[in-house]
């Protein structure tokens, strides 16, 4: 039996959604899969288990995960400051947050490479005082990705933090909870799913990031070469099958990781009665 729905337009809007999803996402992605069918399985495995390719995967996913974790931590603090404390210049700080969204990522990469290179302003300082080199090392990739992905975390956490009922904190305090207990047992469980969503977005953005990374990474094979760059390199060498195989693998791994994060998120919300 047909179920009646109060909200009209379900058929049309769903049709639209599927049409666009197909046009923009599914057709290009399935082309990728289709292209890789030209390869036999042994040939495919041969390409992706190449040590240089594996090293690039380690660098790309490793740097993206670390950067997303750091961005989540600092993004949470920034969102916290923006929501919780009134201060002058707040609007200005708020506008700065979104700049990485708008800036061409290549510009960001060049600027970062300039200041973090061994002779650069911050790079020199870090090498002189801590012996740490940022640019042309995997660390440089992490720094670039944090810059790119922090707004995702801030903008995801901010509205949830804004909506958080501070009477819950007061209630916990009145029941004898210390400030640390209030944060750990009341605030964090309510905010954490949004931080995790921010983490997922930051990670997804970081894995695919190309423009900013190539300027600061040094792009040394086996050390600081990222997967997107490797794909471009393969294309430039007319190794289309190899490029496709690597891209497909990247797509699958990303999809799996995002799926796991979303399931984790769902599980956490369910366990705390928010679904």
């Amino acid at each position: 039996m047909r179920q009646s729905n109060i909200m009209p337009g379900f058929g049309q809007t769903l049709g639209f959604t599927l049409f666009y999803l197909a046009l923009i996402v599914l057709i290009p992605l399935s082309t990728l899969i289709f292209m890789s069918f030209k390869l036999s399985l042994p040939a495919y495995l041969d390409i992706i288990t190449n040590t240089r390719v594996l090293a690039a995967f380690r660098v790309s996913f490793g740097a993206a995960l670390v950067a997303a974790a750091i961005a989540s931590f600092f993004g949470f603090i920034i969102a916290w400051v923006l929501v919780r404390y009134p201060f002058s210049g707040k609007k200005l700080v708020d506008a700065f947050i979104d700049l990485p969204f708008a800036l061409p990522t290549a510009v960001a990469g060049i600027v970062m490479a300039t200041i973090f290179q061994p002779s650069g302003f911050l790079g020199k300082l870090l090498i002189d005082s801590f012996g740490v080199q940022v640019a042309y090392r995997p660390l440089g990739i992490v720094v670039a990705l944090i810059f790119i992905s922090i707004p995702f975390v801030v903008r995801t956490v901010e509205p949830v933090l804004k909506e958080f009922d501070s009477a819950m904190e007061e209630a916990a305090s009145s029941l004898g909870a210390t400030r640390l207990q209030v944060f750990n047992k009341i605030i964090l469980p309510n905010i954490f799913p949004s931080v995790l969503t921010g983490f997922a977005l930051a990670f997804a953005r970081g894995v695919g990031e190309y423009g900013s990374v190539i300027f600061i990474a040094g792009n040394q094979p086996y050390v600081s070469e990222i997967v997107p760059l490797l794909i471009i390199t393969k294309l430039e060498q007319y190794e289309y099958e190899a490029a496709t195989a690597i891209a497909l693998t990247m797509l699958l791994v990303s999809f799996l990781l995002l799926l796991v994060i979303n399931l984790l998120n769902r599980w956490m919300r369910q366990r705390s009665g928010q679904l």
Binding site: E170, S173, S174, G176
Partner: protein, 348 residues
């Protein structure tokens, strides 16, 4: 535990929310802080709790100065208007929270916590909901859980901020009675904030009337109703007719049976039930007519109109039992004679 509020003041910018409040609440009372919105009653409650700090003055609980102490160390239970239940925890975990955050030395074992929580949930008659989340409960249920949660830590003082404000009328009525009974059982000193004078009169053993940041009157509900200290209290508690003593009203009040004395004040407040209404005799010259009436259940409120010499008129409200109104057999537009039994006098 007794509460002593000494010379408390609080300003929000230019606005003086509380102006040198002094108040003493004896052990075991159930006190209502009553006043219109913006009178400072919630601010006072939050200062007693330690959720807000006073600009001036001190708070003593059982003779101990608690002014500088953090809310978590004051040993109070606080109930919020919008419940403030922890929405990521089950009902059971909500009630257990106060016990679980105690220091290791004082913390009861999980088994003792479970026993205590179930006892409290039985006290509020909601043990069957222990594994639900707050979002799955009705407003009345949530507020009872919030109360159980506050009671779990055995507070010496229970503070309730408009506890029934967000509930619908019938639930509110039930919960009022329930709170009164609970207080009889537990005898914990309690203060609740309300803007509803009926609620204050019905639930509290003592009522404190606040207005514009200061205390207008404090006393037992009956005292405050029968002997309002000033015009504000008289108008705020119950219904009243306000008559300015111009020449016209003076003459008229005398004929209605009230002795007018300038020394007592220049405004007369007359409770609707202090006005006796009867049909005017055919030869009476009473100018008062019956305009309309409203059915309030057991009471009937009649609207009376008295034209004045200058062409304007005064409306008066009187109340009488349903039965009596039927016996009078009055119709709209009938002329009526009034006898006023009692009036309060104030200076304005």
């Amino acid at each position: 535990m007794s509460i002593l509020i000494e010379n408390i003041s609080k300003n929000f910018g230019q606005f003086a929310a509380l102006n040198h409040i002094n108040l003493e609440i004896p052990d075991g009372e159930l006190v209502a802080l009553l006043g219109p919105s913006g009178c400072g009653k919630t601010t006072l409650l939050r200062i007693i709790a330690g959720l807000e700090s006073a600009d001036e003055g001190r708070i003593f609980l059982s003779g101990e100065d608690k002014t500088a102490q953090h809310v978590s160390r004051r040993g109070i239970g606080f109930v919020f208007q919008h419940y403030a239940l922890f929405r990521h925890m089950t009902v059971f975990d909500n009630v257990a929270f106060g016990l679980r955050v105690k220091d290791k030395k004082e913390r009861p074992s999980e088994a003792d916590i479970a026993k205590k929580v179930h006892n409290l949930l039985e006290l509020v008659q909601l043990d069957w909901l222990h594994d639900r989340f707050p979002d799955q409960l009705s407003g009345g249920q949530r507020q009872r859980i919030a109360l159980a949660r506050a009671l779990a830590v055995e507070p010496s003082v229970l503070l309730l901020d408009e506890p029934f404000g967000a509930l619908d009328a019938s639930v509110r009525k039930d919960l009022r009675q329930w709170l009164r009974n609970l207080h009889k059982e537990l005898h914990v000193t309690s203060i609740f904030v309300t803007h509803d004078q009926e609620e204050a009169m019905e639930v509290a053993s003592q009522v404190v009337v606040l207005n514009k940041g200061h205390i207008e009157q404090q006393g037992a509900p009956a005292d405050i109703y029968d002997h309002p200290a000033n015009a504000f209290v008289s108008k705020f508690i119950g219904q009243t007719n306000v008559l300015n003593l111009n020449e016209d009203n003076v003459i008229w009040l005398k004929t209605a049976g009230i002795a007018v004395d300038d020394s007592k004040g220049n405004v007369a407040h007359i409770r609707p039930h202090d006005i006796d209404v009867k049909k005017a005799d055919a030869n009476s010259d009473s100018p008062v007519t019956l305009k309309d009436w409203q059915h309030l259940g057991s009471l009937i409120r009649v609207e009376l109109y008295r034209p004045q010499d200058n062409g304007s008129g005064t409306y008066l409200f009187a109340e009488m039992p349903n039965e009596r109104f039927k016996l009078l057999k009055l119709n709209k537009g009938d002329r009526v004679a009034l006898h006023i039994k009692h009036a309060h006098w104030f200076n304005s």
